[in-house]
């Protein structure tokens, strides 16, 4: 017998003519998903709440106290439960069979799956579904058995929550521990935060993948960008490549930053602290901010120490970790000064991620990783031929790979 999405039917009619119907199995299976799916059975009271945690049956708690529901997987299924409804206490009004995806995909991306009823290893009814029955849900109620006028009925619910298991548990009246927040929440919020900047939305997913990879979903930090604006950079400004850097980095600032702002400096022989880039002003930032880059009084020689000093001054008393993304096209000569400044700054909550672009002679920047005499390694460096020569995904990966190591080390040394 086939059961359709939304259908409600008396359990007895599924088990017609079957004398052993007092004991049956529910088998669950989902295929075509990349990430692990957790199945569970929630026993709810008449208020539709999980008033007793012991009635959540899953791999960590394989049996209800009454023994009415017990993990037992039929051959061929991913997981299953053996059910003897007569054993259930009267306070349990409903058994909800759920699936939750642990990761970045959603139920809309699965291939197909089913919830089926078996008696004595024989299938008697099946509710089949596919990814098309869902959208962005990460935790769903596939089906439920419920009491109605003294009988048990089944409903092919097939609905759920984009917020994953946490949202589902909340729906059932449960409390979700704060210290194990779902990675889902941040992903959704980054996309949501960027909703007002359609141009950046496709970056949200890519940034989120990297953030999850490096477990930075819950990290709060300030993000700043230091832009080399020496003469040799002119072409990068003129052709819009520097503007692109801002657009690529802004999603990270929106994610990490409490105020969603990307602090920006430009430097050449002088230093200019620009107004922060935000979702409101990022479009054409380079050409419009402070009269546009041509009017910044830059495009001269490069003086890194001057800007490093200003950055340190601004952030030295901050309580939040700071990620400084420092773009340079090389020609670095003030090696001793830079080295001393960064060594001294190792006790501050600032991590310096240097990116060399299209240049050469990066001087001391190339040795930052191995520079001795610091409390923690507070610098990272990588070089690119061109700012746009790597994909956004790769850029985020490279930008975020060293930062978490520093976060951990800085915490150990009580810098944070």
């Amino acid at each position: 017998m086939n059961i359709f999405k939304g259908q409600r039917i008396a359990l007895a009619s599924l088990f017609e003519n079957n004398a052993q119907a007092d004991r049956f199995q529910v088998g669950l299976s989902i295929s075509g998903n990349k990430e692990a799916i957790d199945f569970a059975c929630f026993g709810l009271d008449s208020q539709q709440k999980l008033s007793d945690d012991a009635y959540m049956t899953f791999f960590n708690q394989p049996k209800t106290p009454c023994g009415a529901v017990e993990l037992s997987t039929p051959v061929g299924d991913t997981l299953g439960f053996s059910c003897q409804l007569a054993k259930l206490p009267a306070k349990i009004d409903k058994l909800v069979f759920t699936a939750a995806i642990d990761g970045s995909t959603s139920m809309g991306q699965i291939k197909d799956g089913y919830l089926r009823f078996l008696i004595g290893n024989q299938e008697v009814a099946r509710f089949a579904f596919s990814g098309k029955d869902f959208q962005d849900e990460k935790a769903v109620m596939l089906g439920e058995l419920y009491r109605k006028d003294g009988d048990w009925r089944f409903s092919a619910v097939c609905q759920g929550f984009n917020g994953g298991m946490a949202a589902l548990v909340k729906h059932f009246g449960g409390e979700v521990a704060e210290e194990t927040p779902s990675p889902v929440s941040t992903k959704l919020s980054l996309e949501k935060k960027l909703a007002s900047a359609p141009k950046l939305i496709n970056l949200a997913k890519k940034a989120t993948v990297s953030l999850e990879k490096y477990q930075l979903q819950e990290t709060v930090a300030r993000i700043s960008l230091v832009l080399d604006a020496s003469g040799s950079m002119m072409n990068q400004y003129r052709t819009g490549k520097v503007q692109e850097v801002i657009e690529r980095l802004l999603p990270l600032a929106v994610h990490f930053d409490d105020d969603g702002e990307l602090d920006v400096w430009a430097f050449s022989s002088n230093v200019l602290a620009l107004p922060a880039a935000t979702l409101n002003n990022y479009a054409d930032f380079i050409n419009t901010t402070e009269g546009g880059w041509r009017n910044w009084g830059m495009m001269s020689i490069n003086n890194e120490p001057k800007v490093i000093k200003q950055v340190i001054e601004l952030y030295q008393k901050t309580l939040l970790p700071v990620l400084v993304i420092f773009i340079s096209d090389g020609g670095v000569s003030r090696n001793k000064e830079i080295k001393d400044l960064l060594t001294g700054a190792a006790c501050l909550p600032i991590f310096w991620q240097f990116i060399g672009i299209g240049g050469r002679n990066y001087g001391v920047l190339e040795q930052l990783d191995t520079m001795a005499g610091r409390v923690v390694d507070n610098c990272g460096f990588f070089a690119l031929d061109d700012l746009n020569s790597i994909s956004e995904q790769e850029l985020y990966d490279r930008l975020l790979s060293e930062f978490p190591l520093w976060l951990k080390a800085a915490k150990n040394k009580h810098i944070l």
């Binding site: 259908q7 959208q135 849900e137 009925r153």
Partner: protein, 191 residues
């Protein structure tokens, strides 16, 4: 508590409730607790002649045309989510005011955009349609859409019709596909 209907059952409204002069056809459902498109159920009425067709498009009372020209049938308003207690949408019929050439009034319930939203009554919690005596507030008849019409998206709930000097109610409970447009065409509305 009213009489729970079986498909095709007849009730003489006048006999069930002798005081009955005016009726309310109430439609209720629970707002969606899960993520996804809201459940938007719509109640509508078709005032038809003996041949089963409307006299004109103005005999089709629905969310875009809330009152009949004669004033005997009135829609109380479109609820698009099911938020709120009790009846979420209602049609009020003043039986004495129904024009002489109208023989029947058919009540339907449909899910707005059911096809594109891939919804049916079974996905909606506590969806019902009922007839209530407007003056006494007694429920005369009720149909449980969630349980008994779970895989439907449109339904002719029932109809009141003239039988001699009295009004009778017939529980139809017939599901349809094609939504409100298909139902409207069936009763002679040009869509």
């Amino acid at each position: 508590m009213g009489i729970s209907l079986n498909k095709g059952g007849n009730i003489s409204l006048s006999k069930t409730d002798p005081t009955l002069k005016n009726i309310i056809v109430g439609l209720g459902w629970d707002a969606r607790p899960t993520d996804g498109a809201d459940f938007d159920l719509d109640a509508s009425a078709f005032m038809v002649k003996a041949d089963g067709k409307v006299r004109s498009d103005s005999d089709f009372i629905f969310y875009n045309q809330m009152k009949s020209t004669c004033g005997s049938v009135e829609h109380t308003g479109d609820n698009r989510t099911g938020a709120g207690e009790g009846d979420d949408e209602a049609l009020i019929v003043l039986l004495d005011k129904v024009p002489a050439d109208i023989e029947r009034i058919v009540f339907t319930v449909t899910i707005h955009d059911a096809e594109s939203r891939k919804q049916n009554f079974g996905q909606v919690s506590n969806a019902f349609i009922r007839v209530v005596n407007k003056d006494s507030n007694n429920e005369v008849a009720r149909f449980d859409l969630s349980e008994d019409a779970s895989i439907e998206t449109a339904m002719t709930f029932g109809e009141i019709y003239k039988h001699g000097s009295e009004w009778k109610f017939k529980a139809v409970g017939q599901g349809y596909s094609g939504g409100l447009a298909a139902l409207a065409r069936q009763y002679g509305i040009s869509i």
